[in-house]
């Protein structure tokens, strides 16, 4: 019973608390009025039901709930009516301010207060905002201009980077070609060095051959000298033979004279001298034959002398030729020696050049690798530039939006 009775009293107490709090907390008049109506209605129904014991004890809780619900419904209906009335009064205020002031002075004063308070605050805030806009607008304009220029700069930069990439790629191709050329040059120079070494070896062989030829010519000169001496000795021998032949021819002539004398003496002796005349005739004939033979020998000796004289001349000519050959071989040997020295220098320098070319080739390969890396880096840089370019474009659009919104806010009344 007590529990059931406590419900309506609690609802009454809640309505009173709401009403009092509405007053102290300065709720708006509609809520305040609602709270008052709610309180009065709840109090009324509870007093009616419980004071006059109209309801059985068992139904107390239902009755309490029904009373609260009814109070709430009545409150809603009252609020609705009040709001309708307020709307009508407000329309009166709008149409006839004097009438509104007269009839709704407190409400009018309340709204006036609100309007003035909020209006002043709004105007103040608006001024402050517009002052800020005045500061922000040129700054934003400058920012937008710089963003545009930055965008243009980036686009130009990207274009230049594109050119650099293209140039580096061309350079890279050129370096690759240089590398190929240096490799080929290195091969050629290596072949040249090998050929020079072969040439040096061949020159050394020629040098040996020349030295041998010089030695051989020297021997030939010696042999020629000896041949000339021999021919001279042959001439001397033929001269001796000629002297002997002359002497024999003299003897033969004397023998012939003796045979003639013997023939004459044999003729004076007559028959006794016939045999002796025959011997004398034979001696005479032998002397004649001897003479003939000696003449033939003499002819041959003269022929031999002439031939040996010619031989001497010819050998002298050969001697002279051999000397010329010897001199030429000597010159050739000197030239080959110099050529050997030159070939050695060429060989050494060719090897140096080959090493340098090889180094250049290696450098060119390194340069190609560096250029490849450079192209990759620049491409990455270009991508960064493109990203920044996009970001800048977006920034410009955002600034544009800020401008639009600022203008909308400025125009807002």
């Amino acid at each position: 019973m007590t529990a059931y009775l406590s419900v309506p009293f609690i609802s009454i107490a809640a309505a009173i608390v709401l009403h009092i709090s509405a007053r102290f907390k300065k709720y708006d008049p509609v809520k305040r009025a609602g709270a008052a109506v709610f309180t009065i209605t709840a109090v009324f129904f509870n007093v009616v039901f419980f004071s006059f014991h109209l309801i059985p004890e068992k139904m107390l809780f239902i009755a309490a709930a029904a009373s609260v619900l009814t109070a709430f419904m009545i409150t809603v209906i009252c609020l609705k009516k009040m709001s309708n009335g307020l709307a009508e009064k407000l329309s009166e205020v709008l149409s006839d301010e004097e009438s509104a002031k007269k009839n709704f002075r407190p409400l009018h004063g309340f709204f006036e207060k609100i309007r003035k308070s909020h209006g002043d605050k709004c105007a103040k805030h608006r001024n402050e905002i517009e002052d800020c806009f005045e500061e922000i607008r040129p700054a934003l304009n400058g920012l937008a201009a710089v963003t545009e220029q930055y965008f243009f700069f980036l686009r130009t930069l990207n274009s230049k980077i594109g050119n650099i990439i293209s140039d580096v790629e061309i350079m890279n191709n050129s370096i690759a070609l240089v590398s190929q050329s240096t490799s080929k040059t290195y091969e050629s120079i290596s072949s040249l060095a090998a050929a020079t070494e072969e040439l040096t070896a061949t020159n050394e062989n020629i040098s040996v051959i020349s030295e041998n030829a010089e030695s051989i010519t020297k021997n030939a000169v010696t042999s020629t000298d000896e041949t000339i001496n021999l021919v001279h000795r042959l001439q001397e021998a033929s001269n001796s033979i000629e002297r002997i032949v002359t002497m024999i021819m003299d003897i033969s002539d004397q023998t012939k004279m003796l045979a003639l004398n013997a023939t004459i003496e044999a003729a004076r002796a007559g028959n006794l001298g016939k045999g002796f005349a025959i011997v004398a005739a034979e001696v005479n004939e032998l002397a004649g034959q001897t003479n003939n033979s000696l003449t033939g020998i003499n002819t041959n000796i003269n022929l031999m002398r002439t031939t040996s004289s010619n031989t001497v001349e010819k050998v002298k000519t050969i001697y002279s030729i051999i000397n010329d050959v010897k001199r030429e071989i000597s010159n050739t040997t000197g030239a080959i020696f110099q050529q050997n020295e030159s070939a050695a220098v060429i060989s050494s320098e060719t090897q140096n050049v080959a090493q340098e070319v090889n180094r250049i080739s290696e450098d060119a390969k390194n340069l190609t690798r560096s250029a490849d890396g450079m192209v990759d880096s620049i491409k990455a840089l270009k991508n960064v530039g493109i990203s920044i370019e996009r970001a800048t474009l977006k920034s410009r659009d955002l600034i544009h939006k800020i401008f639009d919104n600022m203008n909308k806010l400025s125009d807002f009344e």
Partner: protein, 193 residues
């Protein structure tokens, strides 16, 4: 008057005006100088004179490749760096003087287009026409070969330079009138404060 096309090939513009491009693109002044050089304007000095068409070509390049805010910023530099006569002391006098200053910075066949001695003005480069509409409203009609946003920058900067404290200048393109951005011969700006 069509944008970026000089009416006469004999019109020249002074170096001080040309340098506004450099001032308007101060952060990227090397690019500004590069653009000027590509159009035949090398190392501009204040007292030099350059063909107006070359300068307009530079403007065209900026309009096509950089953007409208930059054009406006370049326009802002003109009143900021100009010498104003002492009688210019208000928004009205400043805006009405733009046309005179414009002609003083140009010359045709070697003759400066505004004679300050007798007040005569030569024709050939268009005008900045000033119209007072109401107490705090001015109409500016820009009929010249320069870009629309550049003119807006000039007007905005000149009005702000001579406003009184507390005035808030608003320069808007008159949407009801034709615009050079859309191929018309002139642009109309409404200045309120």
């Amino acid at each position: 008057m069509a944008q970026f096309t000089a009416l006469s090939h004999d019109v020249e513009v002074n170096g001080q005006t040309v340098l506004s491009i450099v001032a308007g693109m101060d952060t990227f002044r090397e690019i500004a100088l590069e653009i000027l050089e590509s159009k035949g304007i090398s190392s501009p000095k204040e007292n030099d004179w350059f063909l107006q068409q070359s300068w307009l070509d530079a403007f065209k390049e900026i309009a096509e490749n950089v953007g409208e805010y930059t054009l406006m910023e370049i326009g802002r530099q003109i009143p900021e760096n100009a010498d104003w006569p002492p009688q210019v002391n208000s928004i009205e006098t400043a805006l009405s003087s733009i046309d005179i200053a414009y002609h003083m910075n140009h010359r045709i066949k070697g003759k400066i287009m505004f004679d300050s001695q007798n007040g005569s003005m030569l024709e050939g480069i268009g005008h900045y026409t000033f119209k007072k509409d109401s107490e705090r409203k001015i109409i500016m009609i820009c009929d010249n070969p320069y870009p629309s946003d550049f003119d807006r920058g000039i007007i905005d900067s000149a009005a702000n330079k001579f406003k009184t404290k507390g005035d808030r200048i608003k320069v808007i393109a008159d949407a009801e009138n034709p615009s050079r951005k859309k191929g018309a011969d002139s642009c109309t700006y409404i200045v309120t404060w």
